[in-house]
């Protein structure tokens, strides 16, 4: 049994102090892949929140009946089932976004944040704290996704959620969108900047 964690901490810690992306450095691949535009980043974030919250609750309910030897398989089955549901829902109600995200919704199964939370939290806590932990971590992940997506879309395409931000006069004066922001390497650099800012604000996160 893991040590007792307050509900409030389970929910709010992942926002910043224990953020899954910039502190635990999990789920980086999907941050690179889906953040070229803001909209898919938001959809992806919501999908991960949903999958993570419900997977946490289900695993937490089952935690005393799962044999230790096959727990990873059970977790995977649960996550896979939820991902298929999310995928189908997106296809039904947000077809464009689901096309843009293509394979990355399916790849939520392999997102390290999910396995991490299930192993580290849901296997040792009651359903309600697990739910809060799932939602909290999902939001922590989404925050980073949105920040990265915001800067990449703004600087790379000059738009936000598809709306033109820079007026045409900028382009007439010689401004050009930064093509490098669309490419995955810049996502890493933006994430690095977030980590930089966060660690200079929170001194206790700094490593020697």
């Amino acid at each position: 049994m893991a040590e007792k964690i307050k509900n409030r901490d389970a929910f709010f810690n992942p926002f910043s102090k224990n953020n899954p992306v910039v502190v635990q450095v999990l789920g980086i691949c999907s941050v690179l892949a889906v953040t070229a535009k803001l909209e898919p980043a938001i959809v992806m974030g919501i999908s991960v929140i949903a999958v993570l919250a419900f997977a946490n609750v289900i695993i937490s309910l089952l935690r005393n009946t799962i044999p230790t030897n096959i727990r990873i398989i059970v977790q995977l089955v649960v996550v896979a089932g939820l991902v298929v549901i999310v995928d189908q829902l997106l296809k039904a109600f947000a077809y464009d976004a689901s096309k843009q995200l293509s394979v990355f919704i399916g790849l939520i199964i392999t997102n390290c944040i999910l396995m991490g939370r299930l192993e580290a939290f849901a296997m040792g806590n009651k359903p309600w704290p697990s739910f809060l932990d799932g939602v909290g971590n999902g939001i922590g992940y989404t925050i980073i996704l949105v920040i990265v997506g915001f800067f990449r879309e703004l600087l790379g395409s000059g738009t936000l959620l598809g709306y033109q931000v820079f007026p045409q006069s900028f382009y007439d004066a010689g401004y050009v969108n930064n093509g490098l922001m669309i490419l995955p390497p810049m996502a890493l650099i933006v994430v690095a900047c977030i980590i930089w800012v966060q660690r200079s604000v929170n001194k206790d996160l700094q490593e020697d």
Partner: protein, 402 residues
């Protein structure tokens, strides 16, 4: 000089602890040691001081770059005059035109780059490092003349911050700062950094020069750019459609990035660097060897799929930025391999990869930049392997003798 020294002595108290400008101590320190040899000596321990400190090294590299810079000025003007169909080429007007074309670019890179260095040095309370002296002149030399100034500023800021300062400043960077600037420009603004219309200055500056109109059948494509897009084995042409001879390519009277067209001037620079012992002859030699070998291999197995494979190995060395990269980029002591054998391996691979990218990837007609950056990343690995091999050899020797 005397007046300058007196002035510095007069303002110095302001920068000492307790003075009102103490916060800017490192700025003052930077200027003072730049102008005069510091008169401080070490107070403890045994230290060996060489008069060749990093400021002198940087200045010699800058001097070695001067032939390329002056030739770049001439070539910029020459291409403008040529494109406008001029019959005579007045030397001083062409030089002045080229000077006016490059001056704002050099100014922008120095202001942005040095500005960031000064700010970071103040912030960290360190001495100002002089690494940007060379980088600041390299960046305009390896960019097309028509690069917009704000792009240069953005790219310079990006690479100084993310390639140099975050790793700890001069001497700690993993990648060559000037080349990352170029790579950033290349990937962020491909339309402004490649293609046919960026390598020739097309507008008059302060009444000098002419308007070059691309509608008149002028093509500003570089030789490598033409080869990548045209059919197999065609002779590259200069901007008014005459064939480019090997001699032209050697002299550098071809369209290209500002300072890297002239192999002759690069050779002069190389001689300065080698004579003063600043660049490693091992690296330059092995880059050329690697380039020649790969150029020969590509030329032996020439196919129309890859038009650049029809270039002779010698032309591969003369066109594009290969020679410049070999002499000024690959030899950067911070980012190159440091072991003796490692330098041979590093340089050889730079040469091979440069031609490999150039020939077999038509999307990147210029491979030298990417080759050097790639090998920058691998240099520590090469050094590690060389050192480890050395250790293993000696271990075996002790075992057999024991």
């Amino acid at each position: 000089m005397k007046a300058l020294r007196n002035y510095l002595n007069r303002v110095k108290p302001n920068f000492e602890p307790g003075g009102k400008l103490h916060a800017f101590r490192s700025v003052f320190d930077g200027f003072e040691t730049f102008l005069f040899t510091p008169n401080t000596t070490s107070t403890s321990g045994v230290n060996i001081h060489d008069s060749l400190d990093s400021k002198r090294v940087m200045i010699i590299v800058v001097m070695a770059l001067m032939p390329c810079l002056f030739f770049g000025m001439y070539n910029t003007g020459y291409q403008n005059w040529l494109g406008a169909g001029a019959q005579s080429f007045p030397f001083w007007e062409i030089m002045l035109y080229g000077f006016l074309a490059i001056l704002p670019r050099i100014a922008v890179t120095y202001i942005v780059g040095l500005g960031i260095e000064f700010i970071v040095a103040q912030w960290r309370r360190e001495e100002i490092q002089e690494g940007f002296l060379v980088t600041g002149i390299l960046i305009p030399l390896i960019c097309p003349i028509e690069t917009p100034l704000w792009m240069l500023a953005v790219a310079t800021a990006f690479s100084v911050i993310f390639v140099k300062e975050v790793f700890g400043g001069t001497g700690y960077n993993v990648f060559n700062v000037a080349l990352v600037t170029r790579a950033f420009l290349f990937f962020a603004y491909p339309a402004q950094m490649s293609g046919d219309n960026v390598f020739v200055s097309t507008r008059p500056i302060l009444g000098l020069g002419y308007n070059v109109n691309y509608a008149d059948g002028i093509s500003g494509a570089t030789p490598l750019g033409q080869i990548a897009t045209s059919g197999a084995g065609e002779q590259p042409l200069n901007i008014i459609g005459d064939p480019i001879s090997t001699w032209d390519a050697f002299l550098g009277l071809i369209p290209g990035s500002f300072g890297e067209t002239s192999t002759l001037c690069i050779l002069i620079g190389a001689i300065i660097l080698l004579w003063t012992g600043i660049a490693s002859w091992r690296i330059i030699l092995s880059v050329v060897a690697g380039g020649l070998l790969m150029g020969w291999v590509a030329n032996t197995f020439q196919t129309p799929t890859y038009p650049a494979s029809f270039l002779s190995p010698l032309d591969q060395l003369l066109y594009g930025g290969f020679a410049f990269a070999a002499v000024f980029m690959a030899t950067d002591p911070v980012t190159a391999a440091r072991t003796g054998v490692g330098k041979y391996i590093y340089g050889f691979l730079v040469g091979v990869v440069a031609i490999l990218i150039r020939v077999y990837n038509n999307g990147y007609p210029e491979g030298a930049m990417l080759a050097v950056l790639l090998m920058n990343a691998l240099a520590p690995l090469i050094d590690y392997c060389v050192v480890q091999a050395n250790i293993n050899r000696r271990m075996r020797r002790t075992k057999t003798s024991a």
